[in-house]
Amino acid sequence: MKKKLLLVDDEVEICEFLRSFFEDRDYNVATAHSGVQALDQVEKFGPNVVLLDIQMPEMDGLTALRKIKEKYPKTKVIMVTAVETQDRIEDAMRAGADNYITKPLSLEYLEKDVQEKIESLAGA
């Protein structure tokens, strides 16, 4: 199974180092910098896993999450955000997020989690 990963963050630098990290590990990576772009990419690129920031211009991550899950319930979405508040975690979990990870990231943990999500898709 081809590992397709979409990185969504309004901080271009974050997308870039994550891209280089995951491309090194044989992932097919696309990036987006807003919620609207993210929806667009989900449509065109068809990722298995989306790493989604919350605080973004145009459309925030929670709205994007709901729309993605509505259209593509199989796509795994991991929220990757700078701010961890109980409200936000609960909102995201209720909207169908598959995990919630806060920045700064442990790349080791992130890779393991993405890998797990892809395996769970392959197994299903």
Partner: protein, 514 residues
Amino acid sequence: MFFYLRNPKTVLRKILTGLILFFLGAVTAYLTSLILPWFVDAFWGSHPFTPIFIMTIIFLVAFKPIERAVKWFLEKYFFHKKSYAQWTLTQLAEELKTNLDLQELSNLIVNTLGEILHLKTVAILASDPLRGSFEVTSAFGWPLASPRKVCLNEESPLVKMIHRTGPHVLVREPLLKTLTWQGANDLARDFDQLRAGWVIPLFVGDRLVGLLALGAYSPDTIFDKGDFQFFREFAGSVAVCLLNAQVVRGLKTENFELQDSQAEWFQKTKMSAIERLAAGIAHEVHNPLAIISGKAQVLLMQKNRTPLEPHIEDALNVIVKQTRRAADITKKLLVYSQASKAPRERVSLEKVLDDTVAVAGYQAMHDKIEITRAVDPDLPLFLGNVQELREVFLNLFLNAAEAIGSEGKIHIELRRSPEDEVIEVRFSDSGKGIAPDDLEKVFNPFFTTRHDAVGLGLFVTQQIVHRYGGAIRAESRPGEGSLFVVQLPLSKASSREADEESRQNDSVLIRNEG
């Protein structure tokens, strides 16, 4: 003594009543002796005062109706309208003007009326303008078990009737006779609810501010319809007092509500400002930190393919570690800022302890730290927020583990102290201890003796404990170890419910948010 306690007119009334009765007795005895001389001679002997005296006693004891008639006669023709009762009521009306407490006022009115007029029952109803209803604020002579929450609204037949008839005193029986059967039935229900024979409406201008419901008179009370005029005047004074008290109460309630909502609003905006600030800082700081740390991690993970020079690898490791430290500060700030609205539920502190040991105990075991616990088997559930309580336990645990270093003991105790209704959490360690000078500073923000720590752990712990109305203290002897004691007060409700719940269900679930 007996006479001093009475109103002079009452004493005069008693004497007059006695004299008239004596006179009547004497006349009756005399007439009896004229008609039946043999009767007197045969039974009472020749002394003329003996039969008169005995007949008076008979009159006093056996002929109560005669006494009542005599009293009525006296009231009517000797004391006219200025009876003691009315005099007292006028005094009462004066007194009421100085009292602005609705409840006290109501109690005073019903008790005085009841006692002075020898009424079986008296109730006062005050209007509640917000609900448009009339509620009993005080009642005299009502059985204690009976519900005092009698409430009439604008649609009640009695209130409708009053709006039609105005400030006239309503007397039950004559009034019911003027109505149709259905109308009389409905109205009678209202009278019965209030245990009333009469109802005196309390008007200020056109505004009906309340009702006085008077029960049937005791048979020996002297009243006639001529007193109605007096009652209307009295009711006017009572109505004004009642209205004043209502206005004062309304102002007080509004004021309290205003204060409450101000406090609430203040708290809300204050907290959300801090929270917004903390969230803003977290966002602005965590993103650059994520980039710095991320790039360093990418380089470190490439070392398998392109080996790094040792000093570069060291530097990258330091970058990753220090960015995590910086992020910890903002995370703690965020936890602190939003904790006030953290939802509370009944939590098993033992479970929280289990979680803490599971999360943090691995490293401790690695370091040869022995962890022992003593948990009160009857420990009640605690009403709190799991996240906050975990934060408390984790900080205390990490603090103990750090004080120990690589080898030692941590003993954790959870117990209930029933006399103070608190749960005590005790963390003792065999670590290096705290210098006496530092002991009072350990809870200060950014206080730490370690070069690689932030110094917020115990501060945040203390803040959380204080939020539950609890206390935290530290005891220590340098070189021997430290003891941290947290006291969490059980709220009355939480401890009682918790007791019941833990009795019903020994295995207690807590929500696990991980």
